[in-house]
Symmetry: none
Subunit: 283 residues, 2 copies
């Protein structure tokens, strides 16, 4: 069992990982090795102390160098759930389970609100994870809603399994030219289920399929961690970054505005120190 599991590889997760490594803690860090896609898209960052007028790409290079210098590993998986086992926590990544005494949630922030019916039908025809649930739709018809270009490879993986895919990109510059993929533009309004069939309503149409995948960067925290207190889409924390769940801490955009690198690294650092204090008090 790990002392802590950090979930998320944005600025807050990076800060927490660097600090826990320096403090010789035994932790697992789960998230995309490519770090947050938001870092890539930042044109110029001028107010992050220490890096004068860098691009997001330059900042990302520095982060990756530092992670390598400190000999820190990232487990490149998508977390599908965090469960309270009363003495510790279990983190699920599809079929795999990892256990830890404490959790640091550095999930980033969901830019797109859940569609009506989405949360209610999660696990009953709606999925967030291509790797985890794709095999359930072999030879079937699915709808894939994607919030970013970075999920195109997941959509292609789904297309390799499914009979037919209706792909709904919520971004520009689409690169998805496959025989069994139809691209439809539009903003999802509502998800419903009837007679084992899933329905997605757009503005002027209603699509039918066997399953619906919602591919997005950040999953609503309360969906990921049952029992977690959230308000207006953000995890509720105190000054020590404690959540309402004992041993669960949160940091970065998922705890609220301002959505800034400086704020995120500060909170990641505080969360790491709070984990250490918490573990010391367990002894």
């Amino acid at each position: 069992m790990y002392e802590t599991i950090i979930i998320g590889t944005g600025a807050a997760g990076i800060s927490a990982a660097l600090t826990l490594k320096q403090l010789n803690k035994d932790f697992l860090w789960i998230g995309t090795k490519n770090l947050s896609y938001k870092i890539n898209s930042a044109e110029k960052i001028r107010n992050y102390p220490g890096l004068s007028n860098v691009s997001g790409k330059e900042m990302k290079e520095m982060f990756i160098k530092q992670i390598n210098d400190m000999d820190i590993e990232i487990l490149d998986k998508q977390v599908t759930g965090v469960y309270d086992l009363s003495t510790h926590y279990a983190v699920l990544c599809g079929q795999d389970t990892y256990e830890a005494k404490t959790i640091i949630l550095a999930l980033g922030v969901e830019s797109i609100k859940p569609v009506e019916g989405e949360i209610e039908l999660l696990g009953q025809g709606v999925s967030y994870c291509a790797t985890c649930d794709g095999f359930l739709y072999r030879g079937k018809d699915i709808i894939v809603v994607s919030s970013s270009k970075e999920f195109e490879h997941e959509a292609k993986y789904l297309a390799s399994l499914a009979n037919k895919v209706v792909y709904i990109p919520l971004y520009k510059d689409i690169d998805m030219d496959l025989a069994n993929v139809e691209i439809i533009k539009g903003m999802p309004k509502k998800i419903s289920k009837e007679n084992k069939k899933m329905y997605l309503e757009l503005k002027d149409s209603k699509l039918e399929a066997d399953g619906i995948f919602m591919l997005k960067a950040a999953i609503s925290p309360a969906v990921l961690v049952p029992g977690l207190e959230a308000a207006e889409g953000h995890i509720v924390v105190d000054r020590q970054m404690k959540t309402n769940l004992n041993g669960v801490f949160a940091a970065g955009d998922c705890t609220g505005r301002p959505y800034q690198y400086a704020k995120a690294v500060g909170e990641g650092n505080v969360a790491a120190h709070s984990v250490v204090n918490y573990l010391n008090n367990l002894k």
Copy 2:
């Protein structure tokens, strides 16, 4: 009258100034142009995201370059008092007075009365921060002076790295039972350095080591700002860095532990955004 006055040129003050400049705010920034003396004395910083394994001096160079790049001025004076004039605040620097609608306190943390030689040898064998400098003393002999029970876990962390620790508690109810830790009671009188060895003089003895850690609490900035609420030497703030005084915000070490650059820049950033929100609500 300024929109805000930032007091202090450590990491929190720098972060607040960069953000307010980027947001085109009209502010005055008061403090030493040499930045915080603590930055100079940090030997190696490894867990500040974006700057991999820099010395305090290198970090300071980058901060100064960035301040110049952004065309920000520092008024190099010492603040002697901050007074609430009900509609706004007056900041006194000896004979000079400056007025602003809001204040950001980025005061750092003042140690209790330093021992003779302590300030002079800071960063040259004397350290205030186990997390920051502990790894420099792997396998070496150190002296740890601790003003409070709350620092015992930091001392234990140091003991996990060092060959031998002489622990000098300045409090009762000591819980420090480790094979390589010797507890000595006494009040430190003087620190000196000779031939790369550090010496700490007590009343009747003189101890030798490779490094000396001084773990101590802080004094209250309530002396500087009458009416300011403080607890255990730290300014009381909420998640938006608001103090109990309307329009007064605080950030960095003065708001509490951990005393880390990442935490300070995060809080400076949040304080700057809170000032902007506060000014918007005045209109």
